[in-house]
Symmetry: C2
Subunit: 226 residues, 2 copies
C-alpha cells in the first residue's frame, strides 16, 4: 500500500501536529534564551492543528490512517514534549524524572484506552484529554515555579487515566474561544519578551485549561440543579 496516497486532508493537520510537537522538543532541548517560550508556542500550534484535524475529519470524513496517526501525534506533542520541557527548563534532576515518565506513561495509556472505547460514548471523553493535560503542564513551566509543575505533572497524569467524564468541545463558539486564547498567548510569547506579559499569558492559558479541568464538577451540579 502506497502510504502517501491514502493521506487525506485531516491527516495533513495530524502530521502538522506531530511536526509542531517535534519542534517543541527541539526548542525545549536548547538551553537559555526564549527557547522555553518558543517550545510552548509550538505546543499551542500543535493543539490548534489537533483541533482542526478533528473538525475537518467530522466535515469531510476520516481517513483509514486517521485514528492511529492522531494518537501518535498527540503522544509526542502533549505527552512527551511538555514533561521534556519541564525537565529542560527547570534542569530537574534525575530524581524527579520518574514523575515525568509517569506522566508520559499515563498519556500513552489514556490514548490507547481511547482507541478501544471511543466508539462507545460519543458525548464524553473518559479522563482528561491529553491535549488539555499537556497544555496545562507547559503553561505552568512559564510561571517559573518548579514545585507547582512537578505536583501538576502527577495530578494531571492521574486525571488522564481517571474515569471522570470530560465534555467533548465541538461547539464552534467554544472552539473559537479556545483558539482565540491560544493565538493571543502565542502572539504574546513571540513578540513580548518582558516577564510580566509572559506571566499573564501563561496565567490566561492555565486559567482556561483549569476551567475545562473542573467542568465535570460544574456540569454535574447543573444537572442536579435541573
Amino acid at each position: 500500500m502506497n502510504v502517501f496516497r491514502v493521506i487525506r486532508p485531516p491527516d495533513i493537520f495530524t502530521l502538522l501536529n506531530l511536526v509542531f510537537g517535534f519542534m517543541a522538543i527541539l526548542f525545549a532541548g536548547r538551553a537559555g534564551g526564549s527557547s522555553t517560550q518558543y517550545a510552548l508556542v509550538f505546543i499551542l500550534l500543535a493543539a490548534m492543528a489537533d483541533g482542526l484535524d478533528g473538525l475537518v475529519a467530522r466535515k469531510m470524513g476520516g481517513s483509514p490512517l486517521g485514528a492511529n496517526l492522531d494518537s501518535l501525534a498527540d503522544l509526542v506533542s502533549f505527552g512527551l514534549a511538555p514533561p521534556f520541557l519541564a525537565i529542560s527548563a527547570f534542569h530537574l534532576p534525575p530524581l524527579i524524572w520518574p514523575i515525568a515518565i509517569f506522566f508520559l506513561l499515563c498519556g500513552a495509556l489514556r490514548l490507547a484506552r481511547f482507541n478501544i472505547v471511543s466508539a462507545k460514548s460519543d458525548q464524553n471523553f473518559e479522563g482528561l484529554p491529553i491535549p488539555a493535560a499537556g497544555l496545562a503542564l507547559s503553561a505552568s513551566v512559564l510561571l517559573g515555579w518548579p514545585q507547582l509543575t512537578i505536583l501538576l505533572m502527577l495530578f494531571l497524569a492521574l486525571l488522564m487515566t481517571s474515569s471522570i467524564p470530560y465534555p467533548k468541545i465541538r461547539d464552534l463558539r467554544l472552539m473559537t474561544l479556545f483558539s482565540g486564547v491560544y493565538i493571543l498567548v502565542a502572539a504574546v510569547l513571540l513578540w513580548r519578551h518582558d516577564t510580566d506579559y509572559i506571566l499573564y499569558a501563561a496565567l490566561l492559558l492555565a486559567g482556561l485549561i483549569l476551567l475545562y479541568m473542573i467542568s465535570p464538577v460544574v456540569i454535574k451540579r447543573l444537572r442536579k440543579g435541573r
Copy 2:
C-alpha cells in the same frame, strides 16, 4: 474502564520500551560527555523490550491495549529519539531539521499503515520496520560522520514507507543473535570509553542492521535460485 487493570504482561515490556525511548531523548538532550553513548544504550534497551513484548504477546496472548501502545512506544523510541539524537550530537542547524522531520513523519506513517494492513500478511512486513531504521540511524551517529547520518535519515525514511517485503524475525536463534549483539554493543558503550571500541561497536551494530536491510534482495535471489 480502569486502564491500569487491563495492562497485561506484554504491555509491561511495551511501556518499558516507551520509558527507554524517553530516557534516550533525555540523554540525547544533554550536551557533551558520554550522553550520546547512553542515549544509544537506551535505544538498544528499547529494541530489546520491543522484541520481548512481541515474544510474550505471541506466547501469552495479546492485550486489548497492545497494538495501540506498541505503535506509541515505537514512534518515541525509534522514530523520534534517533533523529533527535542526530540533531543534538552533531548540532545540526535548522536547515537540516526538515530531513529529521521527514524521518519522523515517515516513521509515523509506517506505524499507522502497519496497524491497518498487519492482519493481511503474516509473513512479511511492508517496508523497513521502524526499530531497524531507528537503530541504524542511532548507530551511524556514533561513527561521527554527520553527512552519512543525514543521507541515511532520508534513505531510511524512504525504506520505511516503501512496499518492499521485509521478513519478520521470529526464529529464536536469530532473535538470540540480535539480542546478543545488542547486549555486546551496550556493554561496550557503557564500560569502554575509548573511541576505537565505540567505533567498532557502532560498526558491528550498523553491519547487523545492514544485513537485515538488504535481506529482501537476498531472499528474492534465493527463491529464484530454487
